[in-house]
């Protein structure tokens, strides 16, 4: 297995372009993500965030450009790369009629997790849902489901974790707990994370750096504070609204 060196970025995306039947979803996106960074990918609907994440997960192939993860070409080493990644989305679910521990056992098997049962217990305890392990996933509240999904996403101790709106269905209390936990896990394990969210408070709190996408291009990149300053706004939320309403006026070519 080839390991990325400390200096080599975990994710290297160069001139990524993705078209669907002539419609441009991602026009030209280049970015790097360093080891241990949490990078937020932001933008209004249709900006190209989801497509970019799907390309990084190998679910969609790029029209052009290159994607390297852990220094490996994604297209040629898809399985090897996915073995070291994981994904959590508010828009996917684990089979509803399986128990929590059964779902985690299956997913752990897919990643070949050693000492799986211990790992499962650890994660369930970490997310304070150990008492739910014998419940079917369909019986859980959306907050509990999200936490089970996060357990699934951390089962293989991923080096790269892609999170697609992980707090979308959570109440403010649980969302706050999840954000803090993600930060804690990242600090302890040095996991690299790519994070998409429409909740700008999430992003400001969790992300080291953000990429602002609009119409398939990156229009701003930097720490949340740098991006806020660049757009002369008071918060990321205001930046988001400005970009969503007048992105074209900001000199973005499509």
């Amino acid at each position: 297995m080839v390991r990325a060196t400390m200096t080599e970025p975990v994710v290297q995306v160069e001139h990524l372009r993705k078209e669907f039947n002539g419609t441009v979803a991602v026009a030209d996106v280049s970015f790097h993500v360093g080891r241990g960074e949490i990078v937020g990918v932001l933008g209004p609907n249709g900006a190209g965030k989801t497509t970019t994440i799907q390309v990084l997960l190998g679910l969609t192939t790029p029209t052009s450009g290159s994607v390297r993860v852990f220094g490996l070409d994604l297209e040629r080493h898809r399985c090897e790369i996915l073995h070291r990644c994981n994904f959590c989305s508010a828009y996917t679910a684990l089979p509803a009629n399986l128990r929590v521990r059964e779902n985690l056992r299956v997913m752990g098997g897919l990643y070949g997790v050693p000492d799986l049962f211990r790992k499962m217990d650890e994660l369930l305890a970490l997310f304070e849902i150990g008492h739910l392990k014998d419940k079917t996933t369909g019986q859980l509240s959306s907050g509990e489901s999200t936490r089970v999904n996060l357990c699934k996403a951390l089962l293989n101790t991923p080096e790269l974790l892609l999170l697609d709106e992980p707090t979308a269905s959570l109440d403010p209390n649980i969302a706050d707990k999840v954000r803090k936990l993600l930060r804690k896990i990242q600090r302890e394990q040095g996991i690299t994370m790519i994070y998409t969210s429409h909740n700008m408070r999430d992003v400001e709190e969790v992300c080291d750096r953000v990429l602002f996408l609009h119409r398939g291009r990156i229009i701003a990149e930097g720490t949340p504070q740098e991006v806020i300053a660049k757009f002369n706004q008071k918060s990321l939320e205001e930046v988001f609204i400005t970009v969503a309403r007048s992105g074209d006026l900001l000199g973005v070519e499509t």
């Binding site: 993705k18 669907f20 039947n21 979803a25 989801t50 497509t51 799907q54 997960l57 190998g58 679910l59 969609t60 192939t61 898809r78 399985c79 090897e80 996915l82 073995h83 990644c85 994981n86 994904f87 989305s89 828009y91 996917t92 679910a93 684990l94 089979p95 509803a96 009629n97 399986l98 128990r99 059964e102 056992r105 299956v106 997913m107 752990g108 098997g109 897919l110 990643y111 070949g112 079917t136 699934k152």
Partner: protein, 266 residues
């Protein structure tokens, strides 16, 4: 190929069936309905034809029905396993895991084999109990016949799954319909020579036709035709390779068009 990933996928389907009474019932329900309807229709035909004792027509029809179910279950094993992940919005979790296409397909084959084994057991016991018909009277020749039907079912399953992957849940009806497109041509319930000449030319290109012709030959007491079995096997090899290539191609198309992600979150 990684055995632990195949094992995990099979485990996932095992849990799914163990947790769901409707899914388990579905394994028995249609074969049982077929057995009852076909069984009593043939008993009636036997009576109006004034045939006494066990007739060949009776054996032909019941054997054909049981054999057809093997093919159908093999196809369903592949396609329904895929659809289960679509319905559960779990497809993304599977395909963002390091699962290779071959491992996914192999797992669906194994699930299909288990479904077939259960179906055969139930049907053979019921056929014996209701009609004193013993499918195992065909002897060892059953095995190559079964194997060929399973291979053809797998090939059909891969093609239907690939089509669903390409056209989404709108194409779901194919999961149940595709085998029945071939049924009239594959000489399942009647001999090949009943079909018009030009249809026969198509029929001989279908592996199942040779299995059903061979099965009738055995029931007539003429022994196993190695020609039928070889033809069926050779055709199955060709179709399995073609189906695997088609599946792989469609998987590529689905990735290019972003359909896997769409199907996984629908």
């Amino acid at each position: 190929m990684s055995w632990h990933r195949i094992q995990a996928l099979v485990l996932r389907y095992t849990y799914l069936y163990a947790r769901s009474v409707p899914r388990v019932t579905e394994i028995f329900f249609w074969p049982l309905m077929d057995l009852l309807v076909w069984g009593y229709v043939t008993l009636y035909l036997q009576r109006v034809s004034n045939i006494s004792g066990p007739s060949r027509v009776f054996m032909f029809l019941l054997s054909a029905m049981i054999f057809w179910d093997i093919l159908y279950r093999a196809q369903q094993g592949v396609t329904l396993s895929f659809l289960e992940d679509v319905w559960a919005r779990n497809l993304l979790n599977v395909f963002v895991a390091p699962v290779r296409v071959g491992e996914f397909v192999l797992a669906t084959y194994i699930v299909g084999l288990v479904r077939i084994a259960i179906t055969i057991c139930v049907l053979s016991v019921l056929a014996y109990a209701l009609y004193s018909f013993n499918i195992f009277s065909l002897g060892m020749s059953l095995l190559p016949f079964f194997a060929n039907l399973v291979l053809m079912g797998w090939a059909l399953g891969m093609v239907t799954t690939a089509l669903i992957m390409r056209w989404g849940q709108a194409a779901e009806a194919l999961a149940w319909g595709v085998p029945f497109l071939l049924q009239p041509v594959a000489a399942v319930f009647y001999p090949l020579d009943v079909l018009p000449r030009w249809v026969q030319l198509i029929a001989v290109c279908i592996p199942a036709t040779h299995v059903f012709e061979g099965m009738r030959q055995v029931l007539r007491g003429e022994g196993v035709s190695s020609t039928s079995l070889t033809a069926a096997f050779a055709l199955n090899v060709v179709y399995l390779v073609a189906a695997a290539l088609f599946f792989r191609y469609m998987f590529g198309v689905a990735r290019r068009k972003g359909l896997l992600a769409k199907l996984g979150t629908q």
